[in-house]
């Protein structure tokens, strides 16, 4: 599916516009604390006014807000809200297996990009720092990052299946992995383990085509991966159905188990469903975390 960065961004903006601003609630993530626009509901370093409090001994004179103090006899100190920003790192699977669709609905890669970018828009709009895992696009703030992300998302990979990128994850940040997770499951395990080691938590979003969920095939067939690197021939495809579905359920259970062990969250999304559903789930998942 050919797609230009502007059109991808436009669709992402449209998807994101339907949600209220995501104000991730702050957690104590000491090492990644940076000033951001998210009020911590307590006085601290920040730009926004929080409250006036009577000056206490120990406050330096320059901290006194003279304008307020002039109205009475008491001297007041102006306090600002303590604001921090979160770092969220995305990994969107760009491998060949994602460029598959069985019908009218968009291919998996498109859905993954859309949901990922919509999430990035929401996060960036609420002041978070968003980037990619790995070294290609470190987390930054600002709207311009949306464009950079959109550009990155459009770089497709040639390989049929690609392992999750787990390098360059900032300790104690958030991570979002979007993929069909049909490749080597061990790689996923490695990535999640490493993330857990660094205190990174996040979500796994598995995107599957309805065909992959139903396996509605009959007769003699040769199944091959998108790039053609793998092939499997069968004489009666309908006989394979039950065993395939078992394997798929097993794969999902494994992913779910891995994520629960490492403190991540797992969700499976189908391309024939609305992208809104996936975004909603991501929103809530991150909202709970942040």
């Amino acid at each position: 599916m050919t797609q230009t960065a502007p059109s991808l961004r436009l669709e992402a903006e449209e998807a994101a516009a339907r949600l209220p601003d995501l104000l991730a609630h702050a957690d104590h993530l000491a090492s990644t604390v940076l000033l951001g626009t998210h009020g911590r509901r307590r006085a601290g370093l920040g730009d926004d006014f929080w409250q006036y409090r009577p000056a206490r001994p120990g406050d330096s004179r320059r901290m006194i807000d003279w304008r307020r103090s002039a109205r009475g006899d008491t001297q007041f100190v102006r306090e600002r809200e303590w604001q921090i920003a979160q770092t969220v790192q995305l990994w969107i699977d760009q491998a060949g297996s994602m460029r598959f669709t069985s019908g009218q609905h968009p291919d998996k890669a498109h859905r993954a990009r859309l949901v990922g970018l919509a999430l990035a828009v929401l996060l960036l709009r609420s002041g978070e720092r968003v980037g990619l895992t790995g070294t290609r696009l470190p987390p930054r703030r600002g709207d311009i990052q949306i464009l950079r992300l959109a550009e990155m998302f459009l770089d497709a990979e040639d390989a049929d299946y690609s392992p999750p990128e787990h390098r360059g994850m900032l300790p104690r940040s958030q991570a979002v992995f979007v993929s069909d997770f049909l490749g080597e499951i061990d790689e996923v395990e490695t990535a999640l383990t490493k993330a857990a080691d660094r205190g990174v938590r996040g979500v796994l979003l598995q995107i599957l085509d309805p065909v992959e969920e139903n396996f509605p095939f009959r007769g003699r067939a040769i199944f091959q991966s998108v790039g053609g690197s793998l092939a499997h021939e069968t004489l009666k495809a309908d006989d394979l159905r039950d065993r395939y579905l078992d394997r798929l359920a097993e794969r999902k259970a494994r992913l779910s188990h891995l994520s629960s062990v490492t403190g991540w969250q797992y969700h499976c999304h189908h391309t024939d469903q609305s992208a809104q559903a996936a975004l909603m789930w991501l929103y809530h998942a991150l909202d709970r975390r942040l």
């Binding site: 060949g96 297996s97 994602m98 598959f100 998996k108 049929d160 299946y161 069909d180 049909l182 490749g183 599957l208 085509d209 065909v211 992959e212 095939f217 009959r218 007769g219 003699r220 067939a221 040769i222 199944f223 091959q224 991966s225 998108v226 793998l230 092939a231 499997h232 021939e233 069968t234 004489l235 009666k236 006989d239 394979l240 065993r243 395939y244 394997r247 798929l248 794969r251």
Partner: protein, 924 residues
Amino acid sequence: MLSLGALAFTTPWLLLALIALPVLWLILRAIPPAPIRRLFPAVTLLLGLKDEDHVSDRTPWWLLLLRCLAVAAVILGLAGPILNPRDNAQAGDQPLMVLLDASWASGTGWAAQIAAVDAALAEAERDDRPAALIQLTDPQEPAFRSARDVRAQLSGLAPEPWTPRDADMAATISALASLDPFDTLWLSDGVARDNRVPLLDLLTAQGRVQVIEPGTPVVALGPAKFADGAITLTGYRRDTDAIPALQVAAFGTDPNGTVQEIDRITLPFDADATVAEAVLDLPAELRARLTRFAIVGQTSAGAVSLPDDSLARREVALFAGRDDREGLELLSPVHFLTKALEPTADLLDAPFGDVLPANPDVIILADVVSLTAEETEGLTDWVSEGGLLLRFAGPRVAASDLSRDTEDPLMPVRLRAGGRTVGGAMSWGEPKSLAPFPAESPFFGLSVPDDVRISAQVMAQPDPTLADRVIALLSDGTPLVTRKRIGQGQVVLMHVSANAEWSTLPLSGLFVQMLERLAVSTAITAPDAQDLAGTFWEPAKVLDGFGTLRDASTLPGVSGETLAEAPLGPDMRPGLYTSGDRAIARNVIEVDAVLTAATWPAGVSVAGLEAPQEQPLGGWLLAAALALLLIDILASLWLSGRLGGMRGAATTASLVLGLALAFHPHPGAAQSEELAAIEATKEIVLAHVLTGDRRVDEIAEAGLRGLSQTLFQRTSVEPAAPRGVNLERDELAFYPMLYWPITADQPLPSREASARLNAFLRSGGLILFDTRDADVAGFGASSPEGRKLQQIARTLDIPALEPVPGDHVLTRTFYLLQDFPGRHAGRDVWVEAAPPDAQAIEGMPFRNLNDGVTPVIIGGNDWAAAWARDTDGRTMFPVGRGFAGERQREMSYRFGVNLVMHVLTGNYKSDQVHVPALLERLGQ
């Protein structure tokens, strides 16, 4: 050959292969369908899964059936099936002689007869029998050849518009009698003829005779007769035919010269009658245009009847000298003439002044002496344009000085004073009779009755030219009828009076015949040999066997006797024959023809053409097999998912649509042409000639667009968008002017296009020729464009030219202009020269040709480029430099405005020079 009812097989053993079909079924069942390749990213989850059951899905039963049907169709097709096989037991092994009547009666349904012959010859070819073919109307020496050779000859055969002649039949019989025994196939035309009997006797002696006779009715149309102001048409049918009525169409030329149907009439047959008659009443004008009658739906020469002079009626105007002897009818100079002409000619009864404009065929002056100078001049003009002036002498002519000393222009000879009287009471001698007519006389061949006696006549002066002008002599050698040619017409003088006073000639039948020979009157009945003796006739149009008129200019002429009596044949083809002003038609069907159905003796087997023809089915079956295999391809593709559902439907739909379109006639062409005409005439449209050079055409269109906009803004002329016209195709009459940029390589207009251009120029159109080379070339052939313009102008009707004079109306139709710049402010612009005798009226030479509009303006200033504006109204090309350039562009627009005004107002603007004079007169 294996025969199963109406079906037979030429190679039946091939049918054994049908046994293999069930085996094929089993084999096809066992072979699995080709695997479908599917993209499936989750293949990683499938790796390592084994099939539990090794038998694959089977091909669907209907696909198997389709394939088996295809194979069965191939086997059946190769086995050579034949529908309605001819029973070979009947066919002998002797050579096959094919006889074709090929007469006019075979014309309708000829193709079916040829097909029957072809089938018979094809069979003979299969059986290796030699064959020969004889066309009885045009017999050749019979020679047996291979049937294949004879078949190749079939397509060239055509029926002849006559029936087999006795002589030909006799020759054929003698030729056939000497041959070895043979079988005969006789394609009869179904009309009985006596000369068929001896031939049939011979054929039955030689071998088996098979007759094929078409079951269709044989009908014919007799010659049209004219009586009592109406045309009687006679139709014939055979006694065995039950056709209730004939539709006969009368064809004639319309005023434009194209032949079309004038009228249609039904000829109903009574219950047992073989003859049907009907009367066709047509006005004289339409009657004169008739060219043929034809039975609708028949393509035979017998169904066509050609009208000739017997339907034509000449207009004759009769004038006598002033008749003051009231009551003496029988002595009236024109009594006998009137009686002789009334049945066969239309007599005009009108004053002399009204007759000449009616342009009669003949004017007869009986004993008329005095004609005014005006009448003489009118008559002379009329005669020289082809009229026949017939004069009769009489007492007044004899007593007058008419043509006495000098030859009167309307008299063939000079006359001696007084004339002479022979055999009267006061004279010697006997009344004279006529000498036989000389060979060069139009009367040559007419027999002279003994009882014609001339007792008085006017005498011709002996002159050197007299001998050439005499066309009838008395027995003593004195001229009786003299003739002089004037232009295309002639003046004939009868040296006797038109009544019985001077001779008994007007009382005799010879008089009527002489009038006929002079084409004064026309015969009602078919002329016989005696009537036509000594005349010679050229074929104008002849009929072929299908009743089509063909040009006969390459055929030799025939003598009158042949024309009247000889039977129709290759030397005397039916058709229209002319001699001088007279025309006689020889029709295939004579008057009172009788058509009888042919009867055949009991021993001869007669078959109709309707018998089912042998039809090989092999080709159809093989085609069906091919179609089935094609369906199989589609079905296999569909089964393997390669024929995407939606796309497949779209493909099929577009295929069907494409086929439908391919067979659908193109309806829009005429309509769009009409729309274009309406567009071009709804508003004034400036037009430019398409040169074929796209760039030049674009500039020309943009130029006219700019000029149209300027006109719209500044004047009351509000043109629509300009158009390009293709000289070869488009109608020019819709456009007031054409702008014609000349390119060096444009094609010259064709002859038709030149004719249209000339018509355009003559009817007030104007062409602005622009060689666009004023920057590099002077006037003349010094540039390629100039030379091309000369080539184009050679075919056009372009008057003498002159450079635009300072007082030309073009300089003042809207703006006052002195020069006519375009993108180049170059050399002279040329217009039609003023006539050399033009009077300058207040400096304005009077021009009235073409409504005062010059038909052409020739220059090279590249006006279109100066006028050119794109669709947004911006000028497209720079003109000159700076302000002076813009001024030049403004001047070029003004020239354009003046030009269009000049074209549209005609002489109105040039007449404005008279306004001061008119005002002055009004003031008085």
